[in-house]
Structure formats: structure tokens, C-alpha cells
């Protein structure tokens, strides 16, 4: 199988704290990979490494065969940060138009991406006046601009209406079917079942790596939350 990301011995320190402690993993093309773990376990740091904005990284991390953060990769990765990284004082369209110009993608992309996150009818609203859920959809729409080959999505479904969440997961799978690699983080274990493959993370290490079914089977339980608990207890 083709891998978008291959990492070996990835470590990150922040101050004196080791945030990521020796990770080996891959993110395959054509699948939705879920990065699950409690808040503060290092998910966002791992994502920052992949998009090339994290300092003090050791080990090797290759994205499409190049070191993470290489200049050539910047237009191939769509990145959703945990905070809604859009301009509050601009309208939705103005936000997307700005990022589209930075990326050098066609303006037609703006409408396509707005439709994808179901914001087509709100295009001229100023972001400041949107609800939290709408704002995070604008954030997601920006990451979809230019059909990136790798999507790095940091908790994109937090606080969203279940119906919309469902439709976003359908979209993530469609993007993967179209040949993108999709990495989605979440601290909500319910979302595990929606992923093709899982990386379960705790305190900067992976405690499990595999399909949801395989992880549950190995732990001998029938949901991921129980699997997480039983793996953590087993490790003690």
C-alpha cells in the first residue's frame, strides 16, 4: 500500500517535557486514519510535525517521500488547526478568497469547498457572527481548497450537530476514496468506528495501531473506549 506519511522514532520535546516519545507510524493513501486519545496526549503536536510548523523534532518523518515541512509539500497538505484559524472580521467568502489566492487555486474552488461543508447559503456572513460550529466548518473549508493530497484535521468535528458530523465523515471517506490520505484527530472515542484505521494515543506514545475491529478483538471487548481502558490497565 502507498503511504502518504512514514515516521520512525519521532520525538518532540517542549521545554523539558517529552511530548511525543518515539513514534513509528504510517498514514496510508486512500484511507481515513483516526488519531484518538485524550486531550493533551500529543495529537496536535503530531499534526504540527506533519505540516512542518513544530520545532525540536527528532527522528525521521517523510511526507510523500520528502522530509516533513519541505517547501514542496506546503501546497499538498490541507491543515485544520484546533482553533478556528480564520479571520473573524472577514466574511466567509473573503476568508476563502484570501487563502485561495495564497495557495494560487482557482476561485471556483471557493464555492465547491463551501458546498462541501454545507455553508453555501451563508457565504457573505461575517465570521464573527457565526456559531462555533459554522466557524469550524469555515476552518475546514479552507483546508479543502485546492484538493490537497494529505488532509491533517485536528478535531474537525468537535461541537458539531450529529447530522452534520455524519455528513462530514462521509465526506472524509469520499476524499480518501478519491485518493487523498486523511488523518483526523478526536478525543471522542465514539468517532473511532468511523475510521478505516486507528492510532490510539496516550501520553505521547501509541498504545494501539490497527483497524477498529482488530483493536477490539485483540482487547477482547466490543467498543473502542473499553479497548482503550483495557489496554491501559494491561500496561500497568
Amino acid at each position: 500500500m502507498n503511504n502518504a506519511v512514514e515516521a520512525h522514532g519521532l520525538e518532540v520535546t517542549r521545554g523539558s517535557r517529552e511530548v511525543l516519545r518515539g513514534l513509528d507510524f504510517t498514514v496510508p493513501v486512500g484511507e481515513v486514519t483516526g488519531l484518538l486519545g485524550p486531550s493533551g496526549c500529543g495529537k496536535s503536536t503530531l499534526m504540527r510535525v506533519l505540516v512542518g510548523v513544530q520545532a525540536k523534532v527528532t527522528g525521521t518523518v517523510q511526507v510523500f517521500g520528502q522530509p516533513a515541512g519541505s517547501r514542496a509539500l506546503r501546497s499538498r497538505i490541507g491543515y485544520v488547526t484546533q482553533a478556528a484559524s480564520v479571520y473573524d472580521d472577514l466574511s466567509i467568502t473573503e476568508n476563502l478568497a484570501f487563502f485561495a489566492r495564497v495557495l494560487g487555486v482557482d476561485r471556483g474552488e471557493i464555492d465547491r469547498c463551501l458546498e462541501a461543508v454545507d455553508l453555501g447559503g451563508h457565504a457573505d456572513q461575517v465570521v464573527r457572527n457565526l456559531s462555533g460550529g459554522q466557524r469550524s466548518r469555515v476552518n475546514l473549508a479552507v483546508a479543502l481548497l485546492g484538493k490537497p493530497d494529505l488532509l491533517v484535521l485536528d478535531e474537525p468535528t468537535v461541537g458539531l450537530d450529529p447530522v452534520l458530523r455524519e455528513s462530514l465523515w462521509v465526506m472524509f471517506h469520499r476524499l480518501a476514496d478519491d485518493g487523498a490520505a486523511v488523518l483526523v484527530s478526536s478525543h471522542v472515542m465514539d468517532e473511532a468506528e468511523r475510521c478505516d484505521r486507528l492510532l490510539l494515543m496516550r501520553d505521547g506514545v501509541f498504545i494501539a495501531d490497527g483497524t477498529p475491529a482488530a483493536i477490539k478483538q485483540k482487547a477482547g471487548v466490543d467498543d473502542i473506549e473499553q479497548a482503550f481502558l483495557s489496554i491501559v490497565r494491561g500496561a500497568r
Partner: protein, 246 residues
């Protein structure tokens, strides 16, 4: 670096300001009102016309302070809001961002300077020997300098509070030593020499040259020094802006 991306940043910054009419009005109106206040204060003073002596220096100081503050707060907001991280993960050169900001605020400064100079010369009777338009040119260069310095120091500020504190630290000494309160050549030797390496001194000198003489040779020289400082600050800003952060 790319012209398209630089212009995209500048257009976005201007669009944000346009959405904030109160800031825009304050930006243009406050310097004009302060010039009027200065004129009024000196109006009944006998002897030399103090307004004529002090106004040119203030025309240099206002755009510098205002753009310094506006820039440091805006870039801090960009940093804390996460948009800076997103932009740095995109194919955007650091200079695209800095030049985009300088361009946008330079344009605002042009409007601000045109109004402040217009009011001072047109309504308040500021006596100018040299070309009046050159006052506005120096004002713009000075504003770009303030923007460049603001961009540079925002790399060292983690919060808006810290950014604002850089004003008394970096701007007030320049105002004290620029020749407004004590002529530069009458200062103690050491302070005179410090004054010689501070950019605002050259902007004030340029303004005073335009007001006091019709020959513009010295003006261009002082203007070149101000522009040089602005370019150096932008370069330092690009060097201190880190794509990878802890």
C-alpha cells in the same frame, strides 16, 4: 516570494480595516485633531511661533507611533488566532506576509499623512518653505518604519500586553531623543550619538528640513536613512519569524 501573495496579504489587511470603520476614522481623525490642539495651545503665546517649530516633528511622530501600535496588535492577533500558523503551513514566504502588511499600512499612512498635512498647512497655517507634498512622503516612510518595527518586535511578544509595552520601551526614547524637546546638537555628547542611530531622529530632521528650507537635498538623504531602517527592520522581522515554533 511572490507578488500575487504579497498583494493578497495587503488586500486582506485592508479588507479587515474596512470592516472596522471606527479604527479607520480614529486613524485619520486623531492626528488632525491633535495638530489642531497643538495649534490652539500655542495660539496666544507671544514671541516665536512655537506651532511652526514643533508641528513638523509631530507630523513625523504620529504616523510612527500609530502604525507601530496597530501593527504589533494586528500581528499578535494573527499569531494567537492561529491564522499565522495556518499561513506558515501554506506556500507563503515570510517576506510575502511582512511586505503585505507594510504595503497595506503604508497605504493607510498615506491617507493619514495627507489629512494631517492638509489640515496643518491648509487650516492651521503651518509655514512650510519646501514642497508640502514631501511632508506626506516623509510621513508615509515614517509609518512604514513604524510598521516594520512593529512587525519585528511582535516576534518577541507572546501577548498583546507585552506588545503594547514595547511602545514605551522602544518608541518613547526615540521621541525624547529625536530633537523635539532639546535640539539634537545641544544634547549631552553620548545622547547625541545615541540619537544619531535612532531612525525617528532622521524622520524629524527631514520634516524640519522641509518646513525650514526650500532646498530638498538633505530631505532626500534623511528620507533614505528612514527607508533604510525600515528595510532593515523588515529583514530582521523575516529572520525572527519562525515557521517552526515550540
Amino acid at each position: 516570494m511572490s507578488v500575487r501573495r504579497t498583494l493578497a496579504v495587503a488586500a486582506r489587511v485592508l479588507a479587515q480595516i474596512r470592516r472596522d470603520p471606527r479604527t479607520l476614522v480614529l486613524l485619520v481623525l486623531v492626528p488632525c485633531l491633535l495638530m489642531a490642539l497643538l495649534w490652539w495651545m500655542f495660539h496666544d503665546q507671544p514671541g516665536v511661533d512655537l506651532f511652526d517649530r514643533i508641528a513638523p516633528a509631530l507630523l513625523a511622530i504620529f504616523p510612527f507611533i500609530v502604525m507601530f501600535l496597530v501593527t504589533s496588535v494586528t500581528t499578535l492577533r494573527e499569531r494567537s488566532g492561529g491564522t499565522l500558523e495556518r499561513l506558515l503551513a501554506m506556500p507563503l514566504a515570510k517576506l510575502d506576509l511582512l511586505l503585505g502588511y507594510a504595503l497595506a499600512f503604508g497605504l493607510l499612512a498615506a491617507i493619514q499623512a495627507a489629512c494631517a498635512v492638509g489640515v496643518s498647512v491648509g487650516f492651521l497655517g503651518l509655514d512650510v518653505q519646501g514642497p508640502v507634498w514631501l511632508l506626506a512622503v516623509v510621513g508615509v516612510a515614517d509609518a512604514v518604519l513604524g510598521t516594520a518595527l512593529g512587525l519585528f518586535v511582535s516576534a518577541f511578544a507572546r501577548t498583546e500586553f507585552q506588545a503594547v509595552q514595547f511602545m514605551p520601551a522602544l518608541v518613547v526614547p526615540q521621541i525624547l531623543l529625536c530633537g523635539l524637546l532639546v535640539p539634537r546638537d545641544a544634547m549631552p555628547d553620548l545622547l547625541g550619538r545615541i540619537s544619531d542611530v535612532l531612525p525617528l531622529s532622521y524622520a524629524v530632521d527631514a520634516m524640519n528640513d522641509i518646513a525650514g528650507s526650500s532646498s530638498t537635498g538633505d530631505v532626500w538623504q534623511n528620507l533614505a536613512v528612514v527607508a533604510g531602517f525600515a528595510v532593515a527592520c523588515l529583514a530582521l522581522g523575516a529572520a525572527t519569524l519562525r515557521r517552526r515554533t515550540p
